[in-house]
Structure formats: C-alpha cells, structure tokens
Amino acid sequence: MDFYYGMAQLIGVHTLLGLSAYVVLLTGQVSMAQAGFFAIGAYLAGMLTVLAGWHIVPAMLLAAVASAFVATVVGFPALRVKGLMLVVATLAFGEAVRIFWFNFDYQIAKGNIQVGPLGGEGFKQIRYFPENGWSTADVALFIWAWVIAAMVALWWLDRSRVGSVLRAVGEDELAAQSVGINLTAVKVSAMTIGGFIAGLGGAIYAHYTTHIEHLNFGVILATFAIAYPILGGLSSVIGVLIAVIFIQGFLVEVLRFMGDWRNLLFGALIVLAMNVRPDGLFDARAMRTLRRLFGARDA
C-alpha cells in the first residue's frame, strides 16, 4: 500500500510543478526556471520547520511567497527576451539557484546532531511528518488537499477573464497590446503565480522526501515541469494532471523494467507528441469530447 501512497505523493507534487509551468506557458513563455522556484520553496520551508520549528502550513506559505517574490524579480528581465532566448535565460537562472544551494551552509545544533542545509551534502533530516506522527496516508491526503486547491483555483482563474487575457498574450502580443493589455503586468503576474505554486510544490516535496540536495533540482526537473503542460495541452489544468500521471505513473513506474532506457523513451515521446499532437495530448477538441462524455453542457 505504501507504494501507492508514495506514488500519489510524487504525482501530487509533480502536478503542482506542472501547474506552475502551465500558468507561465499560457502567456507564451517557455520557462525552465520552475525547478529553481521549486528548490527555493523546498529549502526555505525545510529550514522553517527544522531550524525555526514552525508548523508546516505557515512554513509552506511563507516559502511559496518567497518563491513568488523571486519569480517576480526574474519576470521583469525575462520580459525582454522571447522564445529560445527566454529558455536559455530561465535555464541559467534555475542552474544559478541550484548552485546557490550547492554552496549554502547553515547548520545549528539540535540535541546532539547538526541540522540544516550543508552544501553538496544536502539538507537531511527534514522530519516534520514522522516527528509529528503523520502516516504515509496522512501525508498523501495533505498533499492532495493542496493539489486540489491549486487546481480549483487555476481552473477558476482560467474561466475568469484572467484566463482569456493570459491566452490572448500567449497568442499574439501585438494584438493584445492593441486592445489595451499591459504586457508587463500580465507576464510578470503569470510568472509570480507560477513561482508561488512551484514554491508550494517544493515545500511539500522537501517534507515528504525528508532529504533534499541540489541535484534534485537540476535540468531534468525543469524539463519535466515544462513537459507536463506541453504534453497535457493548454486547454485546461486537467491536462497537466493527466500528463503527470502518464509520465510519472506509466512511463517511470510501469516501464521500470526497461531501466534507464525509459529516459530515451521519454525524449522520443516529447518529440512525437509535439509532431503528432502539437496542442498537447488533450487539446481543446479532446477536452470537449471528454466533457460531453461526462454529460456537461458545452460552455
């Protein structure tokens, strides 16, 4: 049973990561910085519960706010570059964050052991959940409460005017400006929301794995983050969830017997998906069909 709870935890956290990239991608920005925001959330939340002894919820929220703040700061210079240059710039930022944690030491004595992040050794003993007697099932439920909250919030945002404005910017910046949309405000807001959600995801991740190190937050994680909304399509947040289940559940777990060859399959799949279904596995048409299957009326 624990295997399935572990799976649920992993999928939940990666869904948050994917959602953070989804919001940014709606405005047409391919951001490789999401792993960096995720790392900031993870380390800060860990430090707050372990070193400062905070309750996990305020620790997560503060860590997410800090990630969102960094995302805002990153958002402004990122406005100046587009397309491939933006990918390179955000990738560089993500790596800078990783290197920062690689070099960052801050330990204090707790009882007779030293706790806190220790550079390349990583940040061990983030034991909030076991110390407070949470079972694996409790943790899985806790994670999914956050995931569902984030999905509902984004679903609603998507249906409100914000969603249309974000998509308008993603589709045609010049036309968007010409109907009075302030590009700077919209793009930076999207980056900020993305930073907040990634920060939340990172904060939970740190606590359920109990041990984080800089290598967890490298290019691979950034690639996963952006792969979810690309594969899942931008028609709805559900696409992200389905993509995460497909990649983490099917590709990574079911195909475990293939060993490291899976990674090759993963790359091939992205190339294939982009060619065969450029609007994502679940594009607007597929979503409409799904909705009809579940008896909902077309909007």
């Binding site: 409100s160 308008a168 045609d172 109907v179 949309i181």
Partner: protein
C-alpha cells in the same frame, strides 16, 4: 482631436514616414491613402506606439502620446484594427471582446474586481457589438473558425470593445467583395452617427471616396495632397503618384 506634428520614421536609410503633419477633427472620417509602401500602416503603428518614432510628435486630445506604450494609447481612447487580421484564434468570439473590455473597466473599477469578475459583466455591451458586427449567433465559436469577412468584422468589434474615441482602421476592405465593402461603408457611417472619429487607411477607392470627409495622400512617406474627396480625385499630383499617369 488627433494631431501629428512633423512625424518621421526612418528604417535605416528608408524614410517610411517623412515629416508628416495632419489633423483629424472630432467626429470626422478621415482617409489616409497612398500607393503600397507609402507609409500608411507605418503611420498607424507610430500612433499606436508599436515602434518608436524617429522624430515628431503625436498629440491626442491635447495630450502628448508620442512613443507611449500601446496599452496606454488604448487607454487614452484610440482603438485599431490590423491590415492582416490579428485575432486571438483560440479564444471564442465573445472572449475576444471580453479581453478587449479589460482596459475600459480598468478606468472604472479596481483591477481585482475587474479580473475576477464573472463572465456576465460587460456582456450587454459585448452583445450589442456582436449584433453590430453581425456575429450575434457566432458568440461561442472559436475566432479561428470564422470566415474571412466575419474575422474582419470581429476585429472591428474587438477594437470597439475598448470604447475608443478614435478608431484607426488599417485597410479594413482588403480582400472583401463589392457587397461586403458596401456593408462596411454602412457600418463606418453608423459609427460616426454614434460620435466616433475614424481614421481610415485604405486602398479600395470606392470606399475611401464614398465615406470620408477629408483625405490625405501619402507618397514615399510624405503628404502630397490633402482635401475633400472631390479635390483629391482631380488633383494632378495625386493622379500622377497614386492613380497612375496612364489614365490621366
């Protein structure tokens, strides 16, 4: 209402717009015509802040809007359409208008209420616009699925959704047949009845001669004539530059 003062735009050595001065009065339909590459669209883009001016000034209702950001130009009260239609294809017809209404409501309500407000707000005005554009029954269609003529009409409605005082129409009749051009002319006149001022950049002569009050003619970025349609048609310099010498 709109004044251009010695407006110039040079791309490298090319003088796309050169020392252009003109005034569009309140309630007027002003035509801007000229051969291909004479700087008509560049002028529209300069007014809208798409790219920076080389020199000169754009003044709208006494306010200097030279090189203002595009969204500020919209907020000041100038709407536009594009020569090559630029709709938000993945949004529905209705959402295209909804997005454009954003900036109006910015002036009227706080951003929070405006962004998070439900779809119902602003629906009445959008409904009116859709009726005006003859798209009332297409509201939930994706913009990309519209026919060409419908897309042109939607783009005009989208520009109107931001409630401009001055509307810049960049070749609105391009690719239209005679019947559609006739409907467009009716629509443009109806807008004027509602107090809209219009700057019409156009190639199609029947439309320009039929609806405008005054016309300015551009050639190689410079204004070579200005006056009532009848004067322009008989102006020898215009005939040479624009209508061609062959039929003179």
């Amino acid at each position: 209402m709109l004044e251009l003062h010695s407006l110039s735009k040079h791309f490298g050595g090319v003088r796309a717009v050169d020392d252009l001065s003109l005034t569009v009065n309140q309630g007027e339909i002003f035509g801007l015509i000229g051969p291909n590459g004479s700087g008509k669209s560049t002028t529209v883009n300069l007014i809208c802040g798409v790219f920076p001016t080389t020199s000169g000034a754009v003044v709208f209702e006494g306010q200097d809007i030279t090189d203002a950001a595009s969204h500020r130009v919209v907020a000041a009260g100038i709407g536009r359409t594009f020569q090559n239609i630029r709709l938000f294809g993945d949004l529905t017809v209705w959402q295209n208008l909804w997005v454009a209404q954003n900036s109006v409501e910015e002036r009227e309500t706080g951003w929070f209420a405006r962004w998070l407000g439900g779809q119902r707000r602003g629906r009445d005005y959008a409904g009116e616009l859709l009726k005006f554009a003859g798209l009332a029954d297409r509201a939930n269609e994706l913009a990309r699925n519209l026919a060409f003529g419908e897309q042109r009409r939607l783009e005009m409605a989208r520009a109107l959704a931001a409630r401009p005082k001055l509307l810049l129409l960049d070749e609105p009749a391009a690719g239209m047949n005679a019947e559609e051009v006739g409907q467009l002319a009716t629509r443009i006149r109806a807008l004027r009845e509602h107090g809209m001022t219009i700057l019409l950049v156009e190639h199609v002569m029947e439309l320009v001669m039929g609806v405008t009050d005054r016309i300015a003619v551009l050639n190689f970025g410079q204004k070579i004539a200005e006056g009532a349609p009848a004067e322009i048609q008989s102006d020898p310099a215009v005939r040479t530059a624009y209508l061609g010498t062959a039929d003179a």
